[in-house]
């Protein structure tokens, strides 16, 4: 096959993938790719499609006397950029080795876990290396003049946000179960240990897990990653404190770049009459107050139209969250959530994790609505 024809083939394949996107939409990785089908590809880069929500690297792989075109899907540009990538890290003509997992439908697509340069063996992508090293020394948390910890960016234009959660799926504190970053259990029989689920909720959780989370409305319909899930997303969150108006804006880096308001002005957790007063919401209604150095936020009035966790733990509109935020040092946000949902769980339960401060940066620009595969 001539290079010209190969090039056309690659472009046609790329075009077909892009054209198919509106039908397939943004997907959960493990809904599209099979973790049991580990695959290694060696070939030459033909094109890099640097777009949200997932970058695609197209490559030619020798198959006997001919070359096959493969699409390697990797993380989003914002996550890759944080890990030191740019759109020029790989260029057409680079010889690479890709390790990943193959598409469930048998097409020539893989999810790339690592990419190395064939010539040198140098790894240019490793999903395990996305998190930056921890700060060398602990610094005290910044404070407002009255001594209250600051949760958001510092005055004077220094940006920052919270990301790299120490846990990426909701599990009751004290429970140790193996799951991947998307909340997919390594062993489905651990499902009952994750949280005190009612029988129907456990069965539904198992069903969602058994389908590799492919029904996640966040991926299918760009539904918000609300509740505790917004604090376990790779794109992170930013907390903007408006002390004059006694509220904190929670800017969500993932999904639709939504925002949510935590009211600290002593109001009741009710909606606006004639507005959303009788309407359950994706983010619920949140009111909070400081208890010493800890911000305690109560949230109710959730609707049932989204998954409130990575991994698909169910919830109902009886969900009530008590969230506790504190900043033990400059680079750490401690987050604790108590889930009280008598519609889905047999008792209230608590989960906690930490997030890391990403200094000097605004939230990544990641839009679910770009709606590409």
């Amino acid at each position: 096959m001539s290079h010209g024809v190969q090039g056309v083939s690659v472009l046609v394949l790329a075009g077909l993938l892009v054209a198919a996107a509106p039908v397939e939409g943004h997907h959960s990785v493990f809904g599209k790719f099979d973790v049991t089908r580990e695959t290694t590809l060696e070939g030459v880069v033909t094109m890099v499609d640097w777009r949200s929500p997932h970058v695609h690297v197209f490559m030619n792989v020798r198959n006997g006397p001919r070359f096959d075109s493969w699409a390697v899907e990797i993380e989003s540009p914002d996550i890759l950029r944080r890990a030191g990538w740019s759109r020029d890290t790989l260029r057409p003509g680079d010889a690479i080795v890709v390790e990943g997992i193959a598409a469930r439908n048998g097409s020539r697509q893989v999810w790339g876990d690592s990419i190395a340069m064939s010539a040198t063996g140098r790894t240019v992508l490793n999903v395990d290396d996305f998190e930056p090293p921890a700060p060398l020394a602990s610094r005290p948390a910044p404070e407002w003049p009255d001594g209250q910890p600051r949760l958001g960016p510092l005055p004077g234009g220094v940006d920052g946000y919270w990301a790299y959660p120490s846990a990426t799926a909701l599990v009751e504190d004290g429970v140790d179960v193996a799951m991947n970053a998307q909340g997919l259990l390594q062993n489905i029989d651990d499902a009952a240990r994750v949280a005190p689920l009612q029988p129907w909720a456990l069965a539904l959780y198992r069903a969602r897990q058994s389908r590799q989370l492919r029904d996640d409305p966040t991926f299918l319909n760009c539904k918000p990653t609300s509740g505790p899930r917004q604090f376990q997303q790779p794109q992170g969150v930013q907390l903007l404190e408006d002390r004059v108006r006694e509220r904190i804006f929670v800017l969500v880096g993932s999904g639709n770049r939504n925002f949510h308001i935590l009211f600290l002005d002593g109001r009741e957790p009710v909606g606006q009459v004639g507005g959303d007063d009788d309407n359950p919401l994706y983010y619920g209604r949140s009111v909070g107050e400081w208890e010493g150095d800890t911000l305690v936020v109560e949230t109710t009035s959730f609707n049932e139209d989204f998954w409130f966790t990575n991994g698909g733990l169910p919830h109902t509109d009886q969900l009530r969250l008590t969230q506790r935020f504190s900043r033990p040092d400059f680079d750490t946000l401690s987050y604790e959530v108590t889930v009280d949902d008598p519609g889905a769980y047999t008792r209230p339960w608590t989960s906690s994790w930490t997030l890391r401060w990403v200094a000097g940066q605004e939230l990544p620009k990641h839009f679910c609505q770009e709606n590409r595969p």
């Binding site: 129907w200 069903a207 139209d305 989204f306 919830h315 889905a344």
Partner: protein, 133 residues
């Protein structure tokens, strides 16, 4: 009577039109269901069912309106997602009939999931199929 029929149809249309915005991911039974039941596959009547879950009990209403009927003793067995409920209705002759409906949820993962099964009472039985709106 014509007005009542118009209002019923209008209500049904509004419920269906509102459905896409009411997609729900919580308890699998909660929501508005629309389908058919009757003495045979050839003779089916429309049926509306509004189901709810309060954390302990499944409650619901068949054909909401002036002749609505509350369901009773509703259960959901997650093993096979089997749904069962009862309802007490009065026929044209004034006799009370005790209905038992039993079916299984299909397409659990989708908001427009189904319940397919049978209904029966003291003197009859037939197919029952509804889809979540």
């Amino acid at each position: 009577m014509r007005t009542l029929r118009f209002v019923s149809v209008l209500t049904a249309v509004c419920l269906i039109a509102a459905a896409p915005a009411a997609a729900q991911e919580g308890h699998p039974l909660k929501g508005t269901w629309l389908g058919t039941w009757g003495p045979s596959p050839e003779h089916l009547n429309d049926v509306f069912l509004i189901l709810d879950w309060d954390g302990e009990n499944i409650t619901g209403t068949i054909n909401p309106g002036i002749d609505n009927v509350e369901i009773r003793n509703a259960t959901l067995d997650p093993e096979g997602w089997v749904v069962r409920f009862e309802a007490r209705m009065t026929n044209a002759a004034g006799a009370t009939l005790n209905y038992v409906v039993e079916g299984a949820i299909g397409n659990l993962a989708f908001h427009d999931r189904t319940i397919t099964g049978t209904w029966s009472h003291e003197s009859g039985s037939g197919p029952f199929e509804i889809q979540r709106q």
